[in-house]
């Protein structure tokens, strides 16, 4: 059902065809606190000083898919992030893994963008770049919202598939494997399109020294843009309710009570 040999409009030269069949691939990545970092809350706000920052784990799977796409069909992979100068390191980590170009989107006043704003800026950058396929993680490890991918696709007017666990690459599109009730579905999709990536069989690659040396020399393209007015306002923040204290049982005579509690209250057996 895929579109092998889908014509790309107005080609006159065979070489141009070669170039055009190699897709411009983009991957959206986000800098988040290490998922094993100790999060300290001071007066209701999170103190992130001293926290190690990483590429959000699902985004690592997205990078892996993007790199495999390039390896299968040629083309180039642009890593895009939205964030302040600290995020250059995040992009360089992506470069060390093998991404070709690095784009950081930022300008003053973007500190408190809502998700609508973030999606608009990312969508604008993707259409400026002329990307044909975009990969991103299914959700970021900090907010866990999962709205960015579908939101960006919506703004671009593109088709998208969420929670993809594996991708096979065709000319002019891809086939994506997604979990569905009772199994997995294989879905074909034409360019331009966006995929949000879940953990799958392809473990993200590790960097190597060569990649890290390339990253040192890599340039980050800084771009600004137009952000829509905020549509969301935060009314209040609160910490999660304290966990109720656990129950303690003593003595063998309480075994039936423990079993019952595990079955009926905790629902674990």
């Amino acid at each position: 059902m895929l579109m092998n040999g889908v014509p790309v409009g107005g080609l006159s030269h065979p070489l141009e065809w070669m170039v055009k069949t190699m897709p411009d691939i983009a991957v959206l990545i986000k800098r988040v606190p290490d998922t094993i970092a100790k999060i300290i809350v001071v007066d209701g706000t999170i103190d992130l000083s001293g926290v190690k920052w990483i590429i959000s784990p699902y985004d690592e799977y997205a990078i892996e898919s993007a790199l495999q796409h390039r390896e299968a069909t040629g083309g180039s992979v642009t890593a895009i992030t939205l964030g302040n100068a600290d995020c250059d390191k995040t992009l360089k980590d992506a470069k060390a893994l093998g991404c070709d170009e690095l784009v950081r989107l930022w300008q003053d006043g973007w500190e408190s963008l809502d998700s609508n704003g973030v999606q608009s800026i990312l969508a604008g950058a993707i259409s400026d770049l002329g990307s044909e396929i975009v990969y991103c993680g299914k959700a970021a490890a900090d907010t866990n919202a999962g709205s960015t991918g579908p939101g960006v696709a919506e703004k671009l007017g593109w088709a998208s598939i969420s929670n993809v666990v594996s991708v096979s690459f065709e000319e002019g599109g891809v086939e994506a494997l997604v979990p569905v009730a009772g199994g997995q579905a294989k879905v074909g999709i034409n360019f331009p399109c966006l995929l949000t990536i879940d953990k799958g069989p392809n473990e993200p690659r590790r960097p190597n020294v060569r990649g890290i040396m390339m990253a040192r020399k890599a340039e980050v393209n800084l771009k600004g843009g137009q952000a829509p007015a905020a549509t969301i306002s935060v009314i209040s923040k609160s910490t999660p309710p304290a966990k109720p204290p656990g129950k303690t049982y003593h003595g063998a005579e309480n075994v039936p009570a423990v079993v019952q509690a595990l079955r009926d209250e905790a629902n674990v057996i």
Binding site: N208, V209, R210, M213, A215, R216
Partner: protein
């Protein structure tokens, strides 16, 4: 809790972004791929082959060498690589030290063009493993008196003799062997299939169990003429290799010490005796404070030596001091950490006893602790005290 290297004086802020990325790359690999498998490797007495492949893929073998497939990283980066590998296990760091500093380096520094092109790219990628044969059964601290000899037979050399305690020996494709030709020490490249060469593994070690240690036996071993390293003679050859490896060990020891410190700290905080965590008792805090103090000093020593290596202003006695001091502190920290862990400290559920046993080897190889004292003693007094005439 997740491992975070102790960095009391913020040495990280002195490193380049590239150096930090390389350190983290190795740290993550050790965390994910080495630590879950190390105890099994030790119990079986094997060096898992997948680690050879991974080290090659990461590109850390022969890290500070440039060209011929080697990345030409800073000596600082090389030190950090050693530190992270040895946080995993001294045997793992030994593999990388021997490959890079003791086998690749002499080819890179003293070899001819053909030798460099033939061996270095395959060794940098990990495809070929190297070993370094200097020590003999009867000549350890005084390798200058070695017996192994080479004879010029016109169209080839003939090697005879035996080396002992050779890391990677049995798994090596290439051995750098130091032997006397007409009474002068020269370096020879021996390949695993050379006639008259064998490398049986030594067994029964209680230390560096995840590292292969072997004898190298040469019985009329025939070596083509183009396998001698042309540009070096005398002890300068092996000693210049040892300088690089010893430098790496001074960083590696910090990794082992960090692993023990981390475990001791976590254990002390969670172990309750007399109703309170043992970390709340002054005697235990004193031990932890001593560990932090020694690790911090060792880090500054290694860091400063790294700077000197990178701008070529070092001298050999400085490396002796760092190797001796840092291994000594790591071994003391391992022993102290064992004490803090109580009986649990002897189990392989914790890394302590493994590091402690490993560090006994590290204290001895690459110049024993006291040989380094003698090197420094000679530096201070101008009098060599290695040997004298006994009546």
């Amino acid at each position: 809790m997740a491992y975070e290297g102790l960095d009391f004086y913020d040495v990280e802020s002195l490193l380049s972004e590239e150096e930090v990325m390389i350190r983290d790359m190795v740290r993550d690999w050790v965390e994910d791929e080495v630590l879950p498998k190390i105890e099994h490797a030790c119990r079986e007495g094997i060096f898992p082959d997948e680690w050879r492949v991974a080290l090659g893929e990461m590109g850390v073998l022969g890290a500070p060498l440039k060209g011929y497939g080697c990345p030409g990283l800073s000596y600082m980066a090389y030190g950090l690589i050693c530190q992270e590998l040895e946080r995993g296990d001294s045997g793992l760091r030994s593999f990388a030290s021997v490959q890079g500093s003791l086998a690749m380096y002499p080819i890179w520094e003293f070899g001819n063009e053909e030798q460099k092109e033939k061996y270095l790219p395959k060794m940098a990628s990990g495809e070929w493993v190297g070993c370094f044969g200097l020590t003999e059964p009867d000549y350890g601290s005084n390798p200058g008196d070695m017996i192994t000899k080479a004879e010029d037979m016109g169209d080839h050399y003939l090697l005879n003799g035996a080396k002992m305690w050779i890391t990677n020996g049995t798994i090596a494709d290439v051995a750098i062997v130091w032997a006397k030709l007409d009474g002068v020490i020269k370096g020879f490249i021996v390949e695993k299939d050379d006639e008259g060469f064998s490398a049986p593994e030594m067994t029964g070690k209680h230390s560096l169990k995840a590292s292969v240690t072997s004898e190298l036996v040469f019985q009329d071993c025939k070596i083509p003429k183009d396998r001698m390293l042309p540009d070096v003679k005398g002890l300068k050859g092996p000693f210049s290799c040892l300088n690089n490896a010893r430098y790496g060990i001074s960083w590696g020891a910090i990794g082992a010490a960090q692993a023990c410190f981390h475990s001791a700290k976590e254990y002390a905080l969670s172990r309750i005796q007399f109703d309170h965590p043992i970390a709340s008792y002054q005697l235990v805090q004193n031990k932890l404070a001593w560990m932090l103090r020694e690790i911090t000093k060792a880090q500054l020593l290694a860091y400063h030596l790294g700077l000197k290596k990178d701008d070529s202003t070092w001298f050999a006695e400085q490396i002796s001091l760092a190797k001796m001091n840092n291994v000594d502190m790591a071994l003391e920290i391992a022993r102290m950490a064992r004490d803090i862990h109580g009986a649990n400290g002897i189990l392989d559920e914790y890394c302590i006893m493994r590091h402690m046993a490993n560090l006994e080897s590290v204290k001895t190889y690459e110049g024993t602790h006291d040989i380094h004292n003698l090197i420094i003693g000679k530096y201070i007094t101008g009098i060599q005290a290695f040997t004298r005439k006994l009546d």
